[in-house]
């Protein structure tokens, strides 16, 4: 209860326990899946066509799943929060997997269209599960790496200023040479595309090890510069790591969305063919 005079009216909903929400949604999904399975079995026992029921349900769930992308592009329109839509998307996706199992005679169907359809569905489903994993685990990894706010240009500028401040003398020459040989390209260039797919600490560890090995050739003032360069290497690696994980998530969204649209198109063709050959 806000009693501060001049305070803003309550604008946020009361905070919802995420764990509690997860349990509730999972329970609803399980009940819905069980009900769907029971109805499907009951339909079959009455010698009716189970595929019609599950097919219509599956198509409906697909439309609901695709609708998330439409809602995302319509901010400002009172259609509910994206968070609620995402939760609906997530659990509808799980429900659709159950309905798919009830619908198909085999998990991977034969025939060109049916194979494409089932393969796309399975890939999209797997991609969805990967998305849940990524969106829940990557942010934490990014935060722990500490690179969420940095950018390459800042590190490059800092590295140049550290390089310029390396003390004059034989020890400084050693460190400067090392910087020119190894570190300059690291700070000046973006990481390889492979790093975005599979970020590792190999290069960072190699450079830090080389820098540590150089330590015995340096005098105390130069060691300070060396330590500053080591910190910059770590910081830049954290930024690259964060950028890689975010890029991976963006690629996943694009792939998932494209495959979902393909799936919907293939589904429509499938429905048209079923309609044409319904007798």
């Amino acid at each position: 209860m806000s009693i501060v005079s001049g305070s803003t009216k309550p604008i946020a909903r009361p905070p919802v326990s995420l764990a509690g929400r997860r349990i509730r949604a999972a329970l609803i999904t399980v009940i819905a899946s069980a009900a769907m399975a029971a109805v499907a079995v009951w339909t079959e026992q009455r010698l009716a066509n189970r595929s019609t029921l599950t097919g219509v349900t599956l198509t409906t769930t697909l439309v609901i799943l695709i609708a998330l992308g439409i809602r995302r592009r319509l901010p400002g329109i009172e259609l509910g929060s994206m968070s609620a839509w995402t939760q609906t998307h997530l659990y509808t996706g799980i429900f659709s997997a159950v309905v798919y199992v009830l619908h198909v005679p085999a998990i991977v169907a034969g025939g060109v269209l049916e194979f494409f359809l089932s393969a796309t569905f399975l890939i999209v489903s797997a991609s969805g599960f990967y998305g849940v994993y990524a969106s829940r685990s990557y942010p934490r990894r990014i935060r722990l790496a500490g690179g969420q706010d940095g950018d390459r240009e800042t590190f490059l500028a800092d590295a140049k200023s550290v390089y310029d401040a390396i003390p004059i003398g034989p020890a400084g020459d050693v460190l400067r040479q090392q910087y020119l040989n190894q570190h300059r390209s690291y700070f000046e260039n973006p990481r390889s595309w492979w790093f975005a797919f599979y970020p590792t600490k190999n290069r960072r560890e190699r450079m830090l090890a080389d820098l540590a090995a150089l330590d015995r050739y340096l005098d105390p003032p130069t060691r300070e510069s060396s330590a500053a360069i080591a910190n910059l290497i770590k910081g830049r690696d954290a930024v690259d790591f964060s950028a890689a994980l975010r890029w991976r998530m963006r690629v996943w969204v694009a792939v998932h969305a494209s495959l979902s649209v393909s799936l919907l198109c293939a589904t429509l063709i499938h429905i048209a063919l079923v309609w044409m050959h319904r007798s």
Binding site: M1, S2, I3, V4, S5, G6, S7, T8, K9, P10, I11, A12, P14, P15, V16, S17, L18, R72, R73, L74, P75, G76, I77, E78, S81, M82, S83, W85, T86, A134, S135, R136, Y138, P139, R140, I142, R143, Q148, D149, S242, R246, M249, R250, V253
Partner: protein, 679 residues
Amino acid sequence: MTHPAPFEDHTPDRPGNRRRAPQGPGDQAAAAGQSGASQAGNIQSANSPRSSSSPASVLPATGLSDADVRFVQTRQPFCDLDPSAFSKNLPLAKILQTQTQLRRVTPGQVLVRRGDYGNSAMLILAGTVSVLNPSPRGQSGASSIDSLATDSLATDSDPPPAKRSLGQRLRDCIITPKHPHTRREDQIRPAAGGKQRIGQTDHQVAMFMQDFAAVMVDGQHAALGPGEMFGEVAAMYRTPHSATVVATEESAVLEITWQGLRELRRDKAFDQNLDDHYRRHWLPLHLRENQLLRFLDDQTIAKIAAASTLRSYGRLRWYADYRKTTKRSPAEQIAEEPVVVREGSFPTDLLIVRSGFGRVSVEHGASVQTTAYLGAGHVFDLESVVRNCLNPSRPQMHQHALRAVGMLDVIAIPIELFADEVLPKIRRGDFPPNVQRLFPSLNRRSSKRKTIGKTTSDRRANTDPVIADAPALSSTSLMEFVVGNRLNNGPAAMVIDLDRCTGCDDCMRACATTHGGDSRFKRSGPAHGRLQFASACMQCTDPVCMIGCPTGAITRDADASDPSLTNVVTIDESTCIGCKTCAGSCPYENIDMVNVVNQGGDAFLDIESGKQMLKATKCDLCVDLGGNPQCVAACPHDALVRIDLTHSRPLDQFLKTRIKPRSETETGSATNPPSPELS
């Protein structure tokens, strides 16, 4: 009953001791129109609210001449001031020379506007001005208007923006501007039918009332003449002006900065006069705003007002050294904060925070640990005060210390008066649980009441204390981070859970889509553990950005008497002259200055100056979309929320929904002693 002490000022601000901060309106106004060369290509000129190198500022650029000072010293009230009351280093003449400004005002010119914040008072030297639209309870800066009725008074500010239609919203989603900061001409030019227009008087930007003659005929108003002062309460106590004051005829006014006012209060009679005025007209209003005192009758309120004191601690211009202060460690910050109440001292008064921020702390090891923070409306250590009222034979000392963070104004009600007049009239159920426990009979009744009611939520609604207890955050380091960065100023702070934010930027895209292509916030800012406090306007309880706007373009949709208003601070781009005063004042750097262009990408130029137009933009909490912030609605992962940080409870509740007990160490958790904070 203790005898009320006069106004107590513990603030270190003294003119002459401190240089004028660079963020002052005069400085910022000088930058108006200096937005650089226009963009290449075609340029569109427009009639705009004119910027000036010297808008109506609160601090004089040059000060009064010796002749002016001699003239002013012959006028009331300066002719009655005792010269010996002022120090030799800063005599009256020097105060007048450095802290005042002579201004000529013309008929229809708005001197102060209701709801705006100011940091200067106005003294009429010649001519008359009219006070329009006094506050509903008849409170105003001028006693002569107290008897005015309210129903026939016209509102002085433009109505809040109308809710956008569905068609407009759809169009915003589909048609994205090709260029950033695109505006239509009608968005940056004052509307022809508006209630005020921007003009100039003696090369200074000034607001004029559009239908001034009609208002003077139809509306009720009170006239103020030579020797009368207005706006001093708003200047000294950081409150919005309660009424609009318009010049009725060509007049001369002396604008006195709040620093100047404080110096002038060295004269006992002048100080007593201001104090009496505040005590008579404003203190009852401020007391009534507190939930603790809301059931008291007028007579009791008047008694309390007569016996209470208002104490000020810290710096009114806390935002001037905000950046420097926030870089210090918590220990260094605490060491510099003025102590309001010492730990272990005997409670003699009930302290109610009127404005500003307070840090509640206890000695912990070799240092001091923050246990809670206080904001406007909070009460310090109510438990000890009530305990001592109920058991005067076994008094309890203050278990915590109170320090001023930046600035802190507290109303001190003598404990004897509280025991006699206030405590018996407060419903016991209104107290927070820690105070309720002090009343044994109430505990028995409460346990019976708990069985009545249909649902848990019903029972909670029935038993929730009106004076809600706001426990300290479970994490000490997070609390010190919030206080240290003055984030407790924000009732609508944008908080991002970094453990759920994927960096998809849907929040920024939604903001840009609904604001003509401009995102009104940055997804960056100070972070503590998994929480990031993003750079978005928090709609501060102490809106320093609203001080000194020369055209009144920045306004708050608020009125203590109307709870339906949103309290959101908005900027009217049509009257914004791009002087950067608000952007320079905002300590959190949450106001951006943008060069506006038309839909073809051509820059808008001011016809008068030929320079590119600058406009101030900030988060408006999507007021024209029903006050539903689209950044929050667009976040698919529940990472972004708006939280009222003026209380510790909402943030604590938010954290509890996310952090499992075992991982509380992530936010630097430490066991806190019980907090005396009440809200």
